[in-house]
């Protein structure tokens, strides 16, 4: 089932949580709402679920306006960050809850409920825990039970609010993969909220990036990572180095230094921010060269597959910190030492016009 939201606006006092949001979630996709905390992503999810009311705008489920429908009639499965399992019920009773609450006429028989619960528990691979109470489970198990409980009412859409936010890194990674697999089996339209860019890029079919109650970019993980539409998106997806400067001909001038920049359509003298990811920067140790940004090596961290070099800006960008990712061979080839003055040369540069605010 498809979900559409049209011109959703939500205000909490003087704070605008959602500002005229219009989005389309096609049938069967797993979409991530990604953004920093306070960007309105959870509020949007709760409005879609019907747990919160928008000040204006519409929520369309399968083309029908659901804006005035109560959450219990929307047939959405909602999974909470802190599981919200009923502590006084066993795992079995938790999963059976939705079916048992149905009006007498539509309620399945206890035998059918039993079959369905075990089917769902098998789906989340936790059938052996049916008689336990939630307090006896680990966080990851609880969240899987919460998901089984949400699926028990055969929801038309599945909404997950930071489903892995309360779990430790290892379990989170495991559940991510598991959720993706589950979605590939069920093909239920799903939206999940997260502030973890890695999680969004890894799991989702499409990513909606939000900031300050506005949508910044929509696209496949590949698209948003490769071609960020705004400085915010660039900065949010992965680590980044940025340089404030001014366009001068074919280059960007940062203080006394210049960064070469391919043909562009900025006006001469335009105030810009240039972005480069750590692996898109190279280090030039030749004291005579003049291209690139002058910086001093602070630390060389060479414990991973790639080495990370942390640098402090000098000259035009003093006070700023940069991060460069190089292969370990390259590091030993260059013979980098702490305190050494070098130049940073970008192999790829993404330039945005500065709109008063810096990213």
């Amino acid at each position: 089932m498809s979900i559409q939201v049209k011109n959703i606006h939500k205000q909490f006092g003087a704070f605008t949580a959602l500002d005229d949001i219009t989005l389309d979630f096609p049938t069967g996709e797993l979409v991530a709402l990604l953004g920093p905390s306070g960007c309105g992503k959870t509020t949007l999810l709760r409005i879609i679920a019907g747990l919160e009311q928008a000040d204006s705008g519409q929520v369309l489920l399968d083309g029908d306006d659901a804006s005035s429908t109560h959450v219990r009639e929307r047939q959405v499965g909602f999974v909470f960050q802190h599981y919200a399992l009923f502590k006084h019920m066993t795992v079995f009773d938790n999963v059976a809850f939705g079916m048992r609450m149905k009006p007498r006429g539509q309620r399945p028989s206890e035998a059918k409920i039993k079959d369905k619960v075990h089917e769902l528990l098998n789906l989340v691979q936790l059938d052996w825990l049916a008689d336990r109470f939630p307090s006896q489970l680990s966080g990851g198990q609880r969240q899987r039970i919460a998901l089984a409980r949400a699926l028990a009412v055969e929801p038309r859409v599945l909404l997950l609010d930071e489903p892995f936010g309360a779990l430790d890194a290892k379990v989170r990674k495991e559940l991510r993969r598991w959720l993706r697999k589950l979605h590939d089996e069920l093909h239920i339209t799903s939206i999940f909220v997260t502030h973890d860019q890695e999680e969004a890029l890894e799991v989702a079919d499409r990513v909606v990036l939000m900031d300050h109650g506005k949508v910044e970019q929509i696209g496949t993980p590949e698209e948003v990572y490769r071609h960020p539409a705004t400085p915010f998106v660039y900065g949010f997806l992965g680590s980044v180095n940025f340089f404030h400067g001014r366009v001068e001909g074919e280059a960007v001038r940062v203080g006394d230094d210049t960064l070469p920049h391919e043909p562009h359509d900025f006006d001469h003298g335009a105030e810009v921010v240039a972005f480069a990811r750590p692996h898109e920067l190279d280090i030039d140790t030749d004291p005579a060269s003049t291209a690139g940004i002058a910086a001093r090596i602070n630390r060389v961290l060479a414990f991973g597959v790639t080495a990370r070099v942390e640098l402090d800006g000098i000259n035009g960008s003093s006070g700023q910190h940069f991060e460069v990712e190089l292969t370990r061979e390259r590091v030993s080839e260059l013979g980098l030492k702490d305190g050494q003055a070098v130049r940073l040369v970008p192999s790829r540069l993404k330039v945005f016009e500065r709109e008063g605010a810096s990213a």
């Binding site: 747990l51 219990r72 006084h88 809850f97 609450m101």
Partner: protein
Amino acid sequence: MTATRTFRVLPGFNLTLGYTLGYLSLLILIPLSAVFLKTFGMGWARFVEVVTAPQVVATYKLSFGASLLAAAINAVFGLMLAWALVRYSFPGKKIVDALVDLPFALPTAVAGIALTALYAKNGWLGQYLEEIGIKVAFTPLGVLVALVFIGLPFVVRTVQPILEDLDTELEEAAASLGAQRWQTFRHVIFPILLPALLTGFALAFARAVGEYGSVIFIAGNLPFVSEITPLMIITKLEQYDYQGATAIASVMLVFSFILLLIINGLQAWTAKRTGRDR
């Protein structure tokens, strides 16, 4: 094989245990056993005679019956009051919250006099109730009113913190699973509140059984009608019948003990049923 000494993480276990037992003995166990020791001095036949006298048996019925009923009423309305105080904000909420504790603080005699003035035949409320045929003062109903009054804070104050801690996400989860309001209350909220509610009930009941000051004024103390057991004990004491007084007191003690034991058992049962096994 070498024996390893086990260490407790928290120090002072022996001290704590000794202090607890010593303190409890001094304050509760010794006075209570004095009641039984004094009673033993009178002989079995005389004991049975005193505690089964028709007038005394009538007071048991009134005391325990009215106390249970009062605690039940408080459980229902105390829960509603706690709910309103936690879930809604309304003008004067802080004042209402403070008023709840008043029955704790008020000298019981003051409460008794106030209630009597209100419900007496010519009182503010009593005169209208009299017209529609309801007598409160000097009847068992009056006893009930007084016991409800003094027991109110117990349920409110035990349920309130649990309600405050109750995650609204649980209700949202229930709603998203299709549960109606009352289903959510019946299957999600109430089971969570039940242990606290039972505690409040037990406290209100225990307080009501022992209550004397506020009851005697409004009860009128008519034999076989509105006499409570504590009054019988006082009456015996005033007649210097110390053994008779302690005999009735020991019966009360045993009764109260059994009832509280049952309520505790219920609590343990609900805790076990909900996986909060200790």
